[in-house]
């Protein structure tokens, strides 16, 4: 018996070894690892069509503030597998400003949760519009992200959903959030853009920043 999703995994008593561990990770109703961390949702940070982002606090001694993203639609069955692979590969190429998510789970209805480090900041475009960040500084931050993203592309990783809401700045540098999550959650045909598409998006973002400033 060879599992179509994990062809390298050896069977154990008629089960695919990888599917067994994946199922244990999922533990759908319990919310998997995300739930076991005993998170308290503090405030919604925002969202888009189909997803919501919350600021949450981890219970326990450290009580870290974290970012929890949830999706309204059912994730693909491969989500947890692909999430783990994505996470491992992002850790390997770890470019400056590219966030590596910490954990994921799915709920009883198969909807995905992803837990990441919370970054104090807001979308870089909004900061420029509000004159809280200079144009040159913003472009400098974006250039650094383009380099990091290029390194990820070279490693075969694509963000898939670069947009103004995913590029934030804390005033010292910029961060690219949710790298590769759209593909992991919704699949390669869910509006994921090509490598060049990603770079075009960055260019468009830079242009929009410049245009906004020149209009003022």
């Amino acid at each position: 018996m060879i599992c179509a999703r994990h062809p390298a995994a050896a069977p154990r008593a008629g089960h695919c070894a990888a599917c067994l561990i994946e199922g244990a990770f999922g533990e759908a109703e319990a919310g998997g690892e995300v739930r076991r961390r005993d998170l308290t949702i503090l405030i919604p940070l925002g969202g888009s069509r189909g997803s919501t982002v919350f600021l949450v606090r981890e219970q326990g001694a450290r009580g870290r503030l974290m970012r929890l993203k949830t999706w309204d639609r059912q994730a693909r069955p491969e989500f947890l597998t692909e999430f783990e692979q994505l996470r491992a590969r992002l850790q390997e190429c770890r470019g400056a400003g590219v966030d590596v998510p910490e954990a994921a789970a799915v709920d009883a209805k198969g909807r995905a949760f992803v837990l990441s480090e919370f970054r104090q900041g807001s979308p870089i475009v909004g900061q420029v519009f509000a004159s809280r960040l200079g144009t040159e500084e913003a472009v400098g931050f974006l250039r650094a992200l383009v380099v990091s993203t290029g390194e990820a592309h070279a490693a075969g990783l694509v963000h898939g959903a670069v947009g103004p809401g995913n590029v934030i700045s804390d005033g010292r540098s910029a961060y690219l959030l949710d790298f590769g999550l759209r593909t992991a959650v919704s699949g390669p045909h869910a509006g994921v853009r090509s490598v060049s598409g990603d770079l075009d998006d960055f260019a468009a973002l830079e242009r929009s920043v410049r245009d906004a400033v020149s209009r003022r």
């Binding site: 050896a10 089960h15 695919c16 070894a17 994946e22 199922g23 244990a24 690892e33 076991r36 783990e84």
Partner: protein, 239 residues
Amino acid sequence: MPVGGGFKTTRWSMVNAAGHSSNPKAAKALAELCQIYWPPLYGYLRGRGLDREAAQDLTQGFFARVLERHDLRAADPGRGRFRAFLLTALKRYVINEHERATTARRGGGAMPLSLDFEDAERSFSVEHRDDETPERVFDRKWASIALDRALGRLHDESHQTGRSDVADTLIPYLTDTGNLPAYREVAAALGLSEGAVKVAVHRLRQRFGEILRLEIGETVVSPAEVEEEMRELFRAVSA
């Protein structure tokens, strides 16, 4: 004694807590862990290209040293996972043995563990891939043992607490990929409602996850390490 904020004492945390002091309970816990998880070491040695006899000699010698002489110092277990400790200790042992250039079979006393090398060799031959590193052989075998033990416990529990026919029919649904009969058909065969079958499968999956975590928990010190260990084992079996 609870370890790590309510995490129950595991075999490995007990061994760690005992350190180098003589503690019969810790020695027993270590022996039990070694009895469960020795085949990955044999697989590692075979994966390094050693022939069957040499791998058996080194495996026996290694455990004789660890268990009979309680020689944990060389490996400095400190804090960490049993899996990492065992592999590090074996690597050091192999280096020392190589330096001594000895291939003499361990002998003298009775072997502290019952090691079925025939079974380990069969398993190695069936599962070994030419492109695997010895470390990967070790990790995959380790994961296989944890999964086999968890499946065995799930099977035993299900038979003790419920209808055996229901357990036997529904356990394959732990990893259903759509090739098994529909719940409606199974429900009719078992004399249950379709909803009852769905609930039963869901509970089996949840219970399997709990049992697997318990199994893995025996080889780590803190609860936070269980998830990381699961992630590493997942990578080992799926790559």
